[in-house]
Symmetry: C2
Subunit: 207 residues, 2 copies
DNA sequence: AAGTGTGAACCTCTTCACAGCA
DNA sequence: TGCTGTGAAGAGGTTCACACTT
């Protein structure tokens, strides 16, 4: 099977959110142009994406929302669930923990790590906190497969290295620094400064 | 002049960070392959980017770090400085304020907004906080041109509309929702859930 | 009539490969 | 020799346009 493009995966995440909202409102069907406008895309893009994941609708009613949502769930979720480790319990780490807790049943932050004794062995936002020294132990014990980094820039590479050592294959980094991972490990850096500087460039250019 | 691609702007932000670090270490020159490996890119990409912004080096020494950094500053910074408004002083808002304060002299968070009376009229992370009702007034008075959104999903579109009404041309959104802006306004949504779900998909696929 | 599904064209960004230069 | 600068090829993603369906 042809691999699904990263961009399509991102949009699936958006589509799912829109579809879940519509389901709550009791909507049953949706046309590509409606889903497009609700997710800030184009109708052709929506149809292409759904074609890629192998979902089809009908000219009469468009797409059946529940079926489409289920197809996206099947594509994106691991039926056995996936666990996440988060390292760096600062404001950013807490924002993510807060937002995530209980939101996605198949995807949970199973453990958080920090070096501040104040935070260790507490439960923050429903999540148990450990000392960073225990990263390897806990990740292996809990069978964690996804790593989040919300530490300051300085310690981040060391955390990545530990993540990689435990066999984690996907990492999301919010530390404002460039990190290095071996081939085969997915790393996405979501740099706050970079996104604001890009916006600033646009604001300046469009002045 | 040909417009500079968004992707190149993003990398400029990364290059600048690397170059600033090197300057502190006293380095004077750098080759494209070195800058590439420090910023997780390819040498060809680095050369192409520098070509696009009109910076050139020499086969003998590569690029002169200080000159290159200055060219990036000139490209990215507004000489008169740019001001940012941030709405939503939760964990995420504070993370951004904390990180940003005093870091970039030409780019400052000039005002923060919330609806919680606890936070209003205080100074948090060196930034004055106002009630959201004052958005228009303060943005115009302070001549703010960039807007950040770190509110919950529910109120976000209303904030965007207010930003747009005041003439703000670039918005960065961290609220977990799809927002709509008119043509000509730059909007970047940095969705936490989406990035984690994407990583989860990769972890699942690479299992 | 008003949708979907999709080959093909198009556009954007990345990488190759090599001439030119110090 | 080992780099830079860049035309050209390649890869990836988006949009067009239209046959097909209900």
């Amino acid at each position: 099977m042809i691999p699904i493009p990263e961009k399509t995966i991102e949009r699936m995440s958006r589509y799912r959110r829109v579809l879940n909202n519509l389901l709550e409102e009791g909507r049953k069907h949706i046309y590509s142009h409606e889903l497009a406008s609700l997710s800030s895309g184009t109708p052709a893009q929506v149809r292409r994406d759904l074609m890629i994941i192998g979902h089809s609708g009908s000219p009469r009613n468009g797409y059946e929302i529940k079926l489409l949502r289920n197809d996206i769930n099947e594509l994106m979720d691991d039926p056995e669930g996936q666990k996440i480790a988060l390292t760096g319990i600062g404001y950013l780490g807490r924002a993510i923990m807060n937002y995530f807790m209980g939101r996605r049943p198949k995807l949970t932050i199973a453990a958080a790590f920090d070096i501040d004794p104040e935070k260790i062995n507490r439960v923050i936002s429903g999540c148990r906190c450990y000392h960073t020294d225990q990263l390897e132990e806990i990740i292996r014990k809990e069978n964690i497969t996804i790593g989040i980094i919300t530490t300051p820039a300085a310690g981040a590479q060391k955390i990545v290295d530990t993540y990689v050592k435990t066999g984690i294959k996907a990492i999301v980094n919010w530390a404002p620094t460039i990190l290095h991972v071996p081939e085969g490990v997915f790393l996405e850096t979501r740099d706050i400064t970079m996104s604001i500087e890009k916006a600033a460039f646009f604001a300046k250019t469009n002045k």
